[in-house]
Amino acid sequence: MNTTKALFSPLEYFSDRILLIAGLAASAAGLGLSVGFDVAQDGIFDLHIARLPFQTHLLFLTGNILLTALGLFFIGKIINSGTRLIDMVKVGMIARIPLYLAIPLIGNKTMISLTERLVKQTTGNSLPQLEASDMALLLFLSLVSVLCIAGFFVLLVNGFRVAANAKKWQHYLLLAAVVLATEVLSKFLYTKMVALL
């Protein structure tokens, strides 16, 4: 087994049981990190600092996984009638792992105080004064965040490719449209549901 390939396309190389266990374990860890660091996963690929009750974090996480899975399953069925929902659920769980890795970086105290300082400075008329160390920290966070989002999309696209046997460029165009639609739908649903909670 090619380790690099397996890392970027786990659905192709690992058994269903391993993928399901890894997906569930990662989701539990992701929920724990969200609660521990007060980072809300309030969108398919969104992370924001917000102190929320446990059930809201749980709602966001399950909502993200299910909405991703249902969206992928919907277009997967159009592409290949043999597409299974369980495979898309696994893709939805596994693809989020890189996002979970970004949670401790976004939600740690140093980063929060730096962001607060920056927000305070930008509300005034003067330009924000940043020290070199703060700049380096912000640059590092930006770079890691971009890598995490890229990792999410790599796992999502590769998982979808295997689960639906997608081969044509039109399939990927359809995937992009569905991911964007799911993101908008998740934002809309979460706003409504949080108001009800």
């Binding site: 058994s15 993928l19 043999g82 299974r84 495979d87 295997v162």
Partner: protein, 88 residues
């Protein structure tokens, strides 16, 4: 030893022209088309055999091979496509 199925000179599919009985050395000459199964690669033949021995269950075969169901199903879909092409 691997059975050659493609002509090394012009890439056309080879025909079976001579069959020999190992017991009495009787030789039969003719022109018989190569069966579709034999025109598959050794890996593909092995895949078909494993699939057959798993009673045609992708789920069971995936568990035996330690790979995911969709990976195996995609391989099977590709093989079905190839066999359909060979049958034409």
């Amino acid at each position: 030893m691997r059975l050659p199925v493609i002509c090394p000179s012009c890439d056309a599919v080879l025909q079976v022209s001579t069959l020999t009985c190992d017991h009495c050395q009787t030789t039969i000459n003719g022109s018989y088309p190569m069966p579709v199964f034999l025109r598959l690669t050794p890996d593909e033949q092995e895949f078909v055999m494993k699939f057959l021995l798993a009673s045609g269950s992708i789920k069971e075969m995936a568990a035996q091979e330690g790979i995911s169901y969709p990976t195996l199903r995609n391989r099977l879909d590709e093989l079905i496509g190839k066999i359909k092409q060979l049958q034409q």
